[in-house]
Symmetry: C2
Subunit: 301 residues, 2 copies
């Protein structure tokens, strides 16, 4: 499993072009990542010179388990999965990351590596920042820190929900959840992935995925193709999915309210995100945005 090959350091974007991204739909600006988009314009601008653009190629391991991360990744398209692999070779997804998040928060937290790996599930692109540059940036206590910490909490919620889901929910429910999660991170309703790969994410057998998918197809919710799945009925999937999907989604919306303009499809970069104004978020300093409600002590109930 020394799957790490060499980082596919595709090509580096001349960052001047980042502001004119609307003219280059094939080369998304960093602001297509929602965390970056949530930064005040000045902060993002300062960050641009240290952001390097890379391709996310399916199957590639961005961070190997136990190895020091060298970059923090901000996907703008594509999907990355944090996966733990057991000694026996079984695997389970711990969380899913798309353009709403970042890969490698261990750099932020100070651990630099994790027992799990991060691998690309669906092709896309990301901007990444080197660990050293991140350290420098955080030195100045930019709002980046506050946003990354909040995202970290979302990731914790996601991971926890994965534990719950693994315990209680059927393969079919989990498949629904997984498809919806991918859909949220994808601009199309066709997911290019094999049932085998999905099985590895969910920690079930490929055959189990096949059976569950067929059930969904018979219900008219999806269409199964060879190497890809098409979502036909989003609402129907949500009805079949377990609560875990909604729990995580609400937690994200609570902690990182959608910079709505930056959603799935077309995007214009550094416009002021309407809901998440970073100035508000890091009220006192970069941490602990709000200090309210702490003065009311007494009982909870």
């Amino acid at each position: 499993m020394s799957a790490n090959a060499s980082f596919q350091t595709a090509f580096t974007v001349p960052l001047a072009s980042a502001k004119t991204d609307r003219a280059l739909p094939s080369m998304p600006a960093p602001a297509q990542n929602r965390l970056l988009a949530a930064l005040p314009r000045g902060n993002l601008a300062r960050l641009l010179p240290v952001l390097e653009r890379v391709q996310l190629l399916p199957g590639r391991i961005i961070h190997a388990a136990g190895e020091q991360a060298r970059h923090l990744y901000f996907p703008v398209a594509g999907i990355v999965s944090r996966v733990y692999e057991t000694e026996g070779g079984e695997s389970s997804e711990l969380s899913l990351v798309g353009n709403e998040g970042a890969v490698g928060v261990s750099l932020l937290l100070g651990g630099f590596s994790t027992p799990s790996q991060a691998l690309v599930v669906c092709a896309g692109d990301a901007y990444r920042i080197r660990a050293a540059s991140l350290t420098e940036e955080l030195d100045h206590f930019s709002p980046l820190l506050a946003i990354l910490l909040r995202y970290t909490q979302v990731m914790i919620a996601q991971t926890g929900q994965m534990a719950v889901c693994n315990r209680y929910h059927s393969a079919e429910q989990q498949l629904c959840r997984w498809l919806l999660s991918c859909l949220d991170r994808s601009s199309s309703n066709v997911l290019t992935i094999t049932q085998e790969a999905i099985a590895r994410m969910l920690g079930v057998r490929r055959e189990t995925v096949t059976v569950a998918a067929q059930t969904l197809q018979r219900a008219g919710l999806i269409h199964i193709g060879r190497g890809h799945m098409t979502i036909l009925d989003r609402v129907g999937l949500e009805a079949e999915a377990c609560e875990c999907y909604g729990v995580v989604k609400r937690e994200y919306q609570r902690l990182l309210p959608p910079a709505s303009a930056v959603g799935g499809a077309g995007v214009q970069g550094s416009r002021d995100p309407p809901d998440l104004r970073a100035e508000e978020v890091h009220a006192r300093h970069a941490l602990c945005g709000r200090t309210g409600t702490t003065s009311q002590q007494a009982a909870v109930a």
Copy 2:
């Protein structure tokens, strides 16, 4: 399940006594919490006035799901469990916290609440700091931040491992893991807890715990009592447990090397922790302790 009652704000310790705790074995000093113990002496001293001592009573909910946390807790004895409860009333443990950790990192991360609750599993005591005080403390970028962030990563690893464990490992393996985890956080090898409670943690039926425990008892690893379990053969339990136990333990030791003197039994407070010198940990600033190895790029393999 509005289980929140009122916080059992037992009694506040006159903090002058914190330094003379050796004379008061029944009233442990804050430094019996390993995170606090890892702080440089000056930092801990500054923190003392805002630390309030409270009892941890079994069954009490420290943080209710979805409600704003008002305090960050540093247990010095006893065990707290982060538990998610499904809409159907099923529950699964997400992580376990004893004197090696803290409860309420959402205050640090800026989310202030989580979808899971934190409840006391084994009786003990904790020091807690109010959210507002924590904010102030972090304003000065004390080493507290670096330590708490590292601990956060341990918690993430723990939660992720829970997902893996829920997916793949037998009830018996999980019981071994759970007993060992508790043992690590307890000064005695008698755990005062019912099988029913363990079942809720593991997300299995009580009967399943009974059967698994009997197997372990027949193997001479534990002794079952009414409302408590005694661990007889720690090494044997480790052999039966799944890898998850070791993975989490190693991750803790990597990120927060043991302030060895502060272990289970007798403790002397603010002596310099030999392995984790906070000055080193927060090398550049409170975040991203080390910047090493970032200059060697190239391939991973």
